[in-house]
């Protein structure tokens, strides 16, 4: 069962000037599980994601994905290995339609180049065939996330919650093995959050995607996580199951703060 080679981080550290944003963080993610990272604002959660994506290059440490260290690879290479993510502040292609956004998620699975792309002229042309094939895959994701209404609309004008979902859909279109979700429920109302919990569970169960999650909504975190890592000021506080995390005195002090929040979450 245990497979430490799937995804693990060893002694990851990165500093910006004198600030240690991430300080000696290590953890293991089991394939097919949901692993959450919690911590107060500025704790370094998103920085860890940016390191995994290759957007930042860490000062020291290793990030192992499927047995290989991925530090130093360019972001698009890391995407090709099967790591997709969503962003805390929406990073959609705002002047593209939902369909086109999701199609961009298929980028690494498509081959059309400049010549075949610019010279297709009929349904049977190679570029057109490929477009059609991948649109069918995208349609499945649109169905899964109930995005039919937004399908041919420009995403810039859609509601915030919908945009968040489209980001999730775009990440899914890449068919990732590891999905990084950076505060997927931010800005959603409680109804949308409920749906989101189902979808994340679906993604885990049906698609078999391993999920790395950053969230502030404790109810959501405690509901779906298999394991949780709590960090503060870049330093890991503790790691454990949701039940353990809820009782850990350091976590209470650093992050959850009040008993009421815990009572509510449990």
């Amino acid at each position: 069962m245990t497979n430490d080679n799937f995804f693990s981080i060893h002694n990851l550290s990165i500093s910006f000037g004198g600030l240690m944003a991430v300080d000696n963080v290590s953890f293991d993610v089991l394939p097919g599980s949901i692993f959450s990272i919690i911590g107060p604002n500025g704790a370094g959660k998103t920085t860890i994601f940016n390191c995994i994506n290759g957007l930042y290059s860490p000062d020291s440490g290793k990030i192992i994905f499927q047995g290989k260290n991925i530090i130093g690879l360019k972001p698009h290479k890391i995407a090709q290995k099967g790591i997709a993510r969503t962003f805390q502040n929406i990073e959609l292609f705002s002047r593209m339609t939902t369909m086109e956004n999701l199609m961009l998620g298929r980028h690494i699975h498509m081959k059309t180049g400049i010549w075949t792309g610019s010279t297709f002229y009929r349904r049977g042309s190679r570029a057109a065939q490929e477009e059609i094939k991948h649109r069918e895959r995208v349609e499945e994701i649109i169905d899964l996330l109930d995005l039919q209404v937004a399908r041919n609309q420009f995403v810039g004008g859609l509601p915030y919650g919908t945009q968040k979902l489209i980001e999730l859909g775009r990440a899914l279109a890449l068919e990732p093995q590891l999905l990084l979700l950076d505060e997927p429920s931010a800005g959603m109302n409680s109804e949308e959050k409920q749906d989101l919990i189902f979808w994340i569970k679906d993604i885990q169960d049906e698609l078999g995607v391993t999920i790395l999650l950053i969230e502030h909504d404790m109810k959501l975190i405690m509901d779906i996580s298999d394991r949780i890592l709590a960090i503060n000021f870049g330093k890991p506080i503790t790691e454990g199951t949701p039940a353990e995390i809820q009782k850990h005195p350091e976590v209470l002090k650093a992050y959850l703060g009040e008993d009421e929040v815990i009572g509510h979450a449990a």
């Binding site: 957007l55 792309g117 610019s118 490929e130 890449l174």
Partner: protein, 312 residues
């Protein structure tokens, strides 16, 4: 029709009979035009078609990929001089020469695309501006290129059949422009074009979705320069004579103005955008205006459009 029944309709050029009809009408009118219009208009049509090519190419770079270039007159010059030299020195047939010149321009575009990886906005504008001006300086001082005196362009020919008149050139230029516009439109509907647009809207997201930024940013420059290069070669044929001052800095500004007036990120806009008035186009408007006043074709609503365009 809003209802789509299959995925091909998403990328199809003409998805209804009505559109097919107008598309064929467009082709028919493009074919008939040179037999009806006086010579000066044919010349103007050639002139405009060449600018359509550059503008569409530049729109791929500026409008779709979100990178600015103030140096497109440089690529235009490379295309023109490249075509002429390949024909006079190496005696290549003109179609091959113009294609090769396009690729030479694309190569320079790729080179210029490299600094563009690290520059954005006004800084990129200045870098490309420098490139455009450097090209004309180099050409102007180098005797191979005829120096400031410029050089004469040979007429294109298929074997013994020489394309000399504006009408003959019209069919060459408009055909090439037509094909290049269609190619650009197709490109933007498929994978490469989507990657370009993604880079414009959010380069970070594009990167993390597997788009190779280095590759696609330089590719956008290369494609754009290719269009400008082809257009430059055609311009050499149209003018019959080229010199460095033809490809001055103001021309780059015009190109950018066409793109912006036509609409960033719009192929159709690039075609309409070239009606930005500059000295020649302005003359056309004046004559159309005149024609309107003296003719009975008042039902054609030409005048208000032209008038407003002239006022811009």
């Amino acid at each position: 029709m809003d209802m789509k029944r299959d995925y091909y309709e998403d990328i199809q050029l003409l998805d209804s009979k009505v559109l097919w009809f107008w598309f064929l009408m467009l082709i028919a009118s493009l074919i008939v035009f040179p037999f009806l219009a006086p010579n000066y208009y044919i010349y103007m049509a050639n002139y405009m078609a060449i600018h359509v090519i550059v503008t569409v190419g530049l729109n791929i770079l500026v409008g779709y990929t979100g990178q600015i270039s103030l140096g497109h007159a440089g690529f235009f010059a490379i295309g023109a001089y490249g075509t002429v030299l390949l024909m006079t020195v190496l005696h290549l047939p003109f179609l091959l020469a113009i294609l090769l010149a396009g690729f030479i321009a694309a190569f320079f575009g790729f080179i210029l695309g490299l600094p563009a990886l690290r520059l954005e906005g006004p800084y990129l504008a200045i870098a490309t501006l420098g490139f455009g001006m450097a090209i004309t300086q180099v050409i102007g001082r180098w005797q191979v290129f005829g120096g400031r005196m410029g050089m004469e362009a040979p007429s294109p020919s298929f074997g013994a059949y020489v394309l000399e008149s504006d009408r003959q050139l019209y069919f060459l230029i408009v055909t090439i422009a037509f094909l290049l516009v269609l190619a650009a439109r197709n490109l933007m509907k498929t994978r490469v074009g989507r990657a370009f647009i993604a880079i414009r809207d959010s380069d970070i997201a594009a990167e993390t979705m597997g788009v190779n930024l280095t590759f696609y940013k330089t590719l956008a420059f290369a494609v754009s320069a290719f269009y400008a290069g082809i257009a430059g070669g055609l311009m050499a044929f149209l003018l019959g004579f080229i010199n460095p001052s033809t490809f001055n800095f103001i021309l780059s500004i015009y190109f950018l103005a066409f793109v912006i007036v036509g609409g960033l990120g719009s192929i159709f806009g690039s075609i309409t955008g070239i009606t930005v008035p500059w000295e020649h186009i302005d003359n056309v408007f004046r004559e159309v205006d005149e024609y309107y006043r003296t003719s009975q074709y008042r039902k054609h609503n030409i005048r208000p459009d032209c008038y407003s365009a002239r006022c811009v």
